[in-house]
Subunit: 386 residues, 2 copies
DNA sequence: GTTGCTACCGCAAACGTGTGCATCGCGGGG
DNA sequence: CCCCGCGATGCACACGTTTGCGGTAGCAAC
């Protein structure tokens, strides 16, 4: 065997002389340039380089400038992993979503990434596949990576995290926790108020038989939105009819099936309040498949206000979640937690009903409908323990 | 259920007696349990613990079992950062997308995350905001994190990475590179073939005045798709009319504006081939706003086959990109590169025309249109340098 | 009894950075 | 002349792992 690039420690003589001439026999990873390399080049100790690069006042401005110049020229990039080891802070957060392919999750993720990036944090992305067990797994994995904090959206675990977290010792904030009961730190949308507003709007348009298409998973947002629907009915003196409350799977396919069942009822609804926009997507397809029109024959509302909602035909009346903003808020809360502040707790963000053209007066005639001006109303905003 | 097993450090002798007794002036992060802790508990050296935990044959199965049990009970989680420092491999990849909120990007990201997770890799997510300068920045940041590899989708930098990469010394694969010219490792969709197929399909339906709504950014996918459109025209003996090729911004808003211009032409088109589904979304809205119908008055095609395409009214005829699969392929290629293999290069994946109901024969009568069976055709698949 | 082999296990040195503390040169005040 | 202070820098250690290598039993073969 040829010798393996003997590491010579020639301290004083010719520091940059015979560079490590890696021979291309095997692709030698050609060690990254380290802080010691540029210390040698600058003829100072490596701590001085470290200090110079982080603008410490302890180092002479002149030498600092010189060091920075050399580091720049050598293309030196400090190793975040070595730094993380000694400082015990990685400036990294973990983000777990059900799946990035979900438009709600990706919108929230976008806000989080933005805020994280602005504060010098990098974000680990992980999918939970909407499975509690897998979610726990990826959280554990993130903990092994020594992330400084964790955000999980639509958690299936929720307050069950408490024992694990006590051991892991890493702050966590939840976005739209799906687990019944309250988690310590979370940002939640006003599900009940939003769903209630949508239903009340439908009732206000004269509808008496308004249905609800939910998510059979039975998680927290589902139960809250269903509750909002029921409250609106109760307030209007309309008795809740279990036959009008059906359940899809939160996705268009399942929603379409559920909607079909609704349409086959002896006395079908004239309006339907959907669990979310994806559900509305499927519901509208099922409605069209029966040769019915929205909103002339049937009014439809959604929840989320995903990007495509306003481009549907007809544009979808829906309850808006400020998804990006919610992501930012989650990140801001996490930043506080990571810096030691412990004040912030649950924050509940207001939902906003966006009226478009998928809703109309009951029994409305086909034709040029009124120009919906997109009236909005804020709902249920507020925060506790702020 | 396993009982809670309180963490007791009072093993026996006092090896950990007067350990560095840091005074708790500031909130002490309560040091994570390390490999040495459990080495002490198991009365072995910490290297033995290390080997036991990675199932090394060098350690006695009995002691290994004992060690694992103790580690489990103590809730020990090895530090990936410490490991990364010594092994010089972080088992981490960086993923940079224009923005996660983009449905195309998030679909690709989903495939990547999946494949990465399957192989024990974690993924750093970063947004480039579709800006070349920012993209370079985040790639640098990822390099500082010592990721083992990088994937960037819709790169604005492309082969300009070469010098930087030579210095960073980290493998990179591009998905749908937007920079003219070829990058070393990439997975690309067959843009030209796909766009050409869509246009040919329209022509086959009798359309002669078929327009193109592009993306004014003028990046690579745009030019290729435009080229495919032109080729189809040429093949059919239709002269390219510059007035029929307009440019939005790849998003619904800009596309709607561009489409309006098209509709105000003295001789408006009877069909329009859109740069992507988002563009089609805007185009269709603009068409409806003029009181025209799709496909009776105007046929529309998209590109991507985003999840909502089949739920539009009418369902969108579009060119499918297997986005998840492309993400997986990118990750698989990256895995090979990271393991030292250097064979894989550009792979071009076939596009598939999905015929739905947004397209019809020119001058078709309103009414129940034929049941589009969703005929498909694979296009332009292949790989080079495999 | 020496040798050699095998199966385990510990020592020590890394990996690249941050940081408390000692050191050093030097100017000024006593 | 001595001492003190101060600004600038280096020393040494720590962070939590992995890994090459040397050591030590136990045992069999000679």
């Amino acid at each position: 065997m040829a010798e393996k690039d003997v590491k010579k420690k020639t301290s004083s003589g010719a520091p940059g002389g015979g560079r490590r001439e890696v021979r291309p026999t095997k692709q030698q990873p050609s060690r990254q340039v380290s802080i010691k390399d540029i210390a040698r080049l600058a003829r100072v100790s490596h701590p001085t380089v470290s200090r110079a690069l982080q603008n410490s006042p302890l180092v002479n401005p002149a030498t600092a400038a010189k060091i920075r110049k050399i580091a720049e020229a050598a293309g030196y990039r400090p190793s975040a992993v070595a730094r993380g080891l000694v400082t015990r802070r990685t400036r990294t957060v973990g983000l777990v979503v059900t799946t990035v392919a979900d438009p709600f999750a990706s919108a929230v993720a976008c806000g989080i990434e933005q805020a994280a990036n602005d504060h010098g944090y990098a974000v680990f992305l992980a999918n939970s596949n909407a499975d509690a067990e897998h979610e726990r797994k990826v959280v554990q994995a993130l903990a092994e990576r020594r992330v400084d904090g964790i955000i999980v959206t639509s958690s299936r675990v929720g307050s069950d995290y408490l024992p694990m977290l006590a051991q892991l010792n890493v702050p966590m904030v939840l976005v739209n926790d799906q687990y019944p009961g309250e988690f310590v730190h979370s940002v939640m949308i006003a599900n009940e108020e939003g769903s209630r507003a949508a239903t009340e709007y439908l009732i206000g348009m004269g509808h008496r038989r308004v249905a609800y298409v939910g998510d059979r998973s039975g998680y927290q947002t589902e139960t809250e939105r269903l509750e909002g629907y029921k409250r609106a009915l109760a307030k209007a003196g309309i008795e809740f009819d279990a036959k009008l409350a059906v359940h899809g799977d939160g996705r268009p396919e399942g929603a379409a099936e559920a909607m079909e069942a609704l349409l086959q009822l002896a006395e079908p609804p004239t309006a339907v309040c959907c669990y979310n926009d994806m559900t509305a997507l499927g519901a509208m397809r099922a409605i069209r498949a029966r040769g019915l029109r929205v909103p002339e024959d049937l009014s439809v509302t959604g929840f989320d206000d995903l990007f495509f909602a306003e481009y549907l035909e007809p544009p979808l009346t829906t309850v808006r979640q400020p998804m990006r903003r919610m992501g930012e808020m989650a990140m801001e809360n996490l930043l506080k937690l990571m810096s030691g502040e412990d004040s912030v707790a649950q924050v509940k963000v207001g939902a906003e009903l966006i009226v478009r053209k998928s809703t109309g007066r009951v029994g409305m005639k086909p034709g040029p409908q009124m120009r919906g001006t997109g009236g909005t109303q804020g709902l249920g905003a507020g925060r506790r323990n702020g």
